[in-house]
Point group: C2
Chain length 268, copies 2
DNA sequence: ACTTGTGAATTCGTTCACAGCA
DNA sequence: TGCTGTGAACGAATTCACAAGT
């Protein structure tokens, strides 16, 4: 059934079908006290993207940037970008654009990046080891303050100057070093237990690489990065392509299809 | 059933001038074909999660499972799960539940997992190396068919039985081995070029780990995994906690809050 | 003239609640 | 008595389009 309930909306533009989406994440709070919740959740994820672009621009000495340009570089549409920025109480200058350094500072402040966040990484296996060695963390304000594992062969070794300690030490070490973010890179079977320890140690934000849904008490934020899921979503699209469309010739520019089609990438 | 989608606008104009874009997209516009293909995008990502749970259940010999149980294990609410399954034309049995093995097969079919998808991984640095060694890929039907890098020190080496070849070989090798999915794990500066090569080689699905927005032609699907973004989103939540709300210990079960899943996790 | 900021329209996604069937 | 499947209410996110500054 379609439709037509009461009011008749006005329809004017062509029904453009574009599919946006993102797996979005968690909803931000709400919760009790009700401190008005600005910053719409989906916006938060994009702010991080804008920040990267801004940093690049800053490095290039750009003084101001328009929403159009910034949006293109971030791969989003400009109206969305402006709305996003409006949520953080931004202030660009009409007719001109945004001051790059000021906007950078505002975004950083919103994301809570004005001070570093100590990170504890649990599970120094294949992936965990790579993450520990990945400079990106420390570089962007997330110093790896502790590493844990249960494997006796790993405990005691050092990665990038940080010693691997036994997972049993999580509570003590995390408390001592003021860890605020935990990264779980253990096998699925161990993830929940590790998560429980982190939570007990006061960690309220967790990035989970283990292929499991973690159960956590309210107030703890979990973000999940699941490679298998990503691959399977791509698989879906590969399969989708064979689904229909008798491949009549091949249209190069099939509108409405999948793709990310910005005009130009940021870097390079 | 019978959703009659009344007015079918049929065909839209090409969004010529500006193409906004984003990642993830699905819901295929149906094009002109007949069978409108639903599967709402957001649903696709969750199907992969359900699949993992189903696989576990299958391994435990469970014959049937209710939407309530499956949903709990997957960390979603049961109504959502049922709606998701309805999109893939599922059929559970009222009063009973879903047949585990049948549902597993249906989900796999929908995700296009009935046959393996050859993967090419470009960038065998820190992260790339870990990904290459990560058994999860091959295990779940995504055999790593090729590895590439530009570093002479890496080219020629072997990881898990697969030789690292020079990135210049991407076109030839990908075509030869029927690669359908590309994984970009290079530094940001090289990502776009690598992406272009993959696309030229016919790869239409790309998983991007590089911190850059990739520009691709329509028809190519890009999914992005950005660690910095994940960390920064968590940072936002850490900061949020200090913003206000004296964090007095409060009600445990506040629905709609931050957390992922109260209740119980799948494993363990 | 140009670009931001934003109300309003629209689309997309989630949740409710119940009819329908084993 | 369950539990599924789904219309319909609801809510979140996106896009439009234009008024408001500069």
């Amino acid at each position: 059934m379609t439709v037509d309930r009461g009011t008749r909306p006005t329809r004017r533009a062509v029904p453009s079908t574009r599919t946006p989406g993102e797996q979005l994440a968690t909803a931000v709070p709400g919760e009790v006290g009700d401190t008005a919740r600005p910053v719409p959740a989906a916006t938060v994820a994009r702010l991080a993207v804008y920040l990267r672009v801004l940093t690049t621009l800053l490095g290039e000495g750009r003084g101001v940037v328009s929403s159009e340009e910034l949006a293109a570089a971030a791969g989003v549409n400009s109206a969305k970008l402006r709305k996003d920025l409006s949520h953080i109480g931004s202030s660009g200058v009409r007719g001109v654009g945004y001051d790059v350094s000021r906007l950078t500072a505002e975004v950083e402040a919103t994301l809570g990046l004005t001070r570093p966040h100590a990170v504890a990484l649990v599970g120094v296996g294949n992936l965990g080891h790579a993450l520990a060695g990945y400079g990106g963390f420390a570089q962007r304000g997330f110093p790896v303050a502790a590493l844990f594992d249960v494997d006796p062969a790993l405990v005691g070794t050092e990665i990038d100057g940080v010693e691997v300690e036994h997972a049993a030490e999580i509570p003590r070490v995390c408390a001592e070093r003021g860890v605020t973010i935990g990264v779980v890179a253990t096998p699925a079977a161990a993830a929940q237990e590790v998560c429980d320890h982190l939570v007990a140690a006061g960690v309220r934000s967790i990035l989970n690489f283990a292929p499991t849904v973690l159960a956590v008490p309210a107030g703890v934020e979990v973000r999940k990065v699941d490679l298998a899921v990503e691959m399977q979503v791509l698989s879906f699209h590969v399969a989708r392509r064979h689904g229909s469309v008798p491949a009549a010739g091949h249209a190069p520019a099939t509108p409405g299809t999948t793709a990310t089609t910005p005009r130009e990438a940021v870097t390079r």
